[in-house]
């Protein structure tokens, strides 16, 4: 059994729908249903569930606000969705019979690619084409290093999440084969902790990259003003 292989469940025309895609759809439906039900009757005097939602959304907003104060409201949906989706997607592997979509490199690569695109999207949107000047800062000689850095950090983002989640699943399978049913609960706890940590790391790194892109031009301009 190769857990890294893509398992195609069915086809829609020419598209081969894999198990990761179907699981992702399931996660989307669960998240959407939960959000639609809980946000239907929001009130100024919140109940316990609304308090939980507001605490989660408030924490995400504060984190984004700290990293990119000027674009917090625009960046927040993307970063928040990354955290919530990765949390749900990582934790769904705990359910017997289901596999976390993040154990597929295609999924983590897609998310990393979205982070890569988002970094430049928000940078260009905030500063225009002047955003690209930071690639030749402090010297045009640094351009190749900047490009390599962009590519490698995106690849690292994808591979880190994929590697950790895939190895966790693999280790769990190996331990299950070796130790039988003696250690499922510790492995389950390790799975939950790892899912939380990896979701947090991926989302936080994405936030730092985007925040860096948004704030880079501002910092460069402040440095120039200080030199003047």
């Amino acid at each position: 059994m190769d857990i890294t292989e893509t398992t195609v469940l069915f086809h829609i025309g020419p598209l081969a729908i894999s198990q990761a895609v179907v699981t992702t759809w399931g996660v989307m439906v669960v998240l959407l249903a939960f959000c639609a039900m809980t946000t239907r009757h929001l009130a100024l005097r919140p109940g316990p569930l609304q308090n939980l939602l507001e605490a989660v959304v408030g924490a995400i907003e504060q984190a984004v606000q700290a990293a990119a104060p000027s674009q917090a409201r625009r960046i927040m949906p993307f970063i928040g969705t990354l955290w919530l989706f990765l949390l749900a997607a990582n934790l769904i592997g705990v359910v017997p019979g289901l596999t976390a979509p993040t154990t597929q490199l295609s999924v983590t690569a897609a998310l990393a690619s979205l982070v890569f695109v988002s970094v430049h999207w928000f940078g260009l949107r905030d500063h225009g084409w002047r955003y690209l000047r930071h690639y030749v800062s402090p010297s045009p000689l640094f351009l190749p290093f900047h490009l390599i850095s962009e590519i490698t950090r995106t690849a690292a983002l994808a591979v880190r999440l994929f590697g950790n989640m895939m190895s966790l699943e693999l280790a769990a399978l190996i331990i299950l084969f070796v130790a039988g049913l003696l250690v499922p609960i510790p492995i389950l706890m390790l799975h939950i902790v790892e899912a939380l940590v990896q979701a947090y790391i991926f989302g936080m790194l994405a936030l730092i990259y985007i925040g860096g892109a948004v704030q880079a031009h501002t910092v460069a301009r402040e440095n120039e003003q200080q030199k003047e």
């Binding site: 946000t39 609304q50 939602l53 907003e61 949906p77 690569a109």
Partner: protein, 249 residues
């Protein structure tokens, strides 16, 4: 480990759709309600601040008004005290005046009472003196005294004014009863003759005479001619003396 481009593409699309859906159904409503609550709290704080400012202004206003009230109260109290003092002085003056008037009345009344008491005492003293004199004269009265009084009467009758003589003569002319002659002691015939003769001469006629005695006269004689009396006795003299003394008192 391979990269499935279909999964890769579908995951990108799925994630973008999920971003939109969560933005639509989670972030926006929750952030909106948080913003509404924040606005409501800020509005409440602003209202509270405004009310506090208004309360401070009202407090200052009320304090100023209270100070003004205190000043007005103090002024009113001073004015009232002044009016009370004026009224008190007026009433004191009126009271002093009334008191002085009452004292004057009292003094007059006391003086009157003293005068009345003195008059009463004088009258009592005169009464006592008259009784004393009457008792004393009663003890010293005698036929000799009566004879002297009779002599004095006969002498006085001869020197009566003409008017009284005429009045007595007229009374004697109208007599229906005898002329009564009262004496304290019984007259002798000679004395009765002298009296009869003097009266006949005075009256110009000779009426019938009736001689009686009355010891209350002490000494002397009383002659009744009709409605007129001719008296020369101690009792009558004492009575006249007592009346004159009481009149003078």
């Amino acid at each position: 480990m391979n990269l499935d481009w279909t999964t890769y593409s579908l995951e990108i699309i799925n994630f973008l759709i999920l971003v939109w859906l969560l933005h639509r159904f989670l972030y926006k409503p929750v952030l909106d309600v948080m913003e509404r609550r924040r606005s409501a709290v800020e509005q409440n704080l602003a209202e509270a601040q405004a009310k506090r400012t208004q309360a401070d202004q009202l407090k200052v206003q009320y304090e100023n008004r209270l100070q003004e009230w205190n000043k007005e109260k103090e002024q009113a109290r001073n004015q009232l005290q002044g009016e009370i003092e004026t009224e008190r002085k007026q009433r004191m003056r009126a009271l002093e005046s009334a008191l002085k008037e009452e004292q004057n009345k009292r003094a007059v009344l006391e003086q009157r009472q003293r005068d009345e008491l003195q008059q009463h005492i004088e009258r009592v003293a005169i009464g006592h003196a008259a009784r004393f004199a009457s008792r004393l004269l009663s003890r010293v009265a005698s036929p000799e005294l009566e004879a002297r009084l009779l002599d004095m009467l006969i002498t006085d009758l001869s020197s009566l004014p003409q008017e009284q003589r005429s009045a007595l003569a007229q009374a004697a002319g109208e007599l229906a009863t005898p002329v009564r002659v009262l004496t304290a002691h019984t007259l002798t015939e000679a004395q009765q003759e002298r009296v009869t003769q003097a009266l006949n001469e005075l009256l110009g006629t000779s009426p019938h005479y009736e001689f009686n005695t009355d010891y209350q006269l002490i000494a002397g004689v009383r002659i009744q001619v009709g409605a007129r009396l001719i008296q020369a006795n101690v009792n009558e003299e004492l009575r006249l003396f007592q009346e004159a003394a009481q009149h003078d008192a």
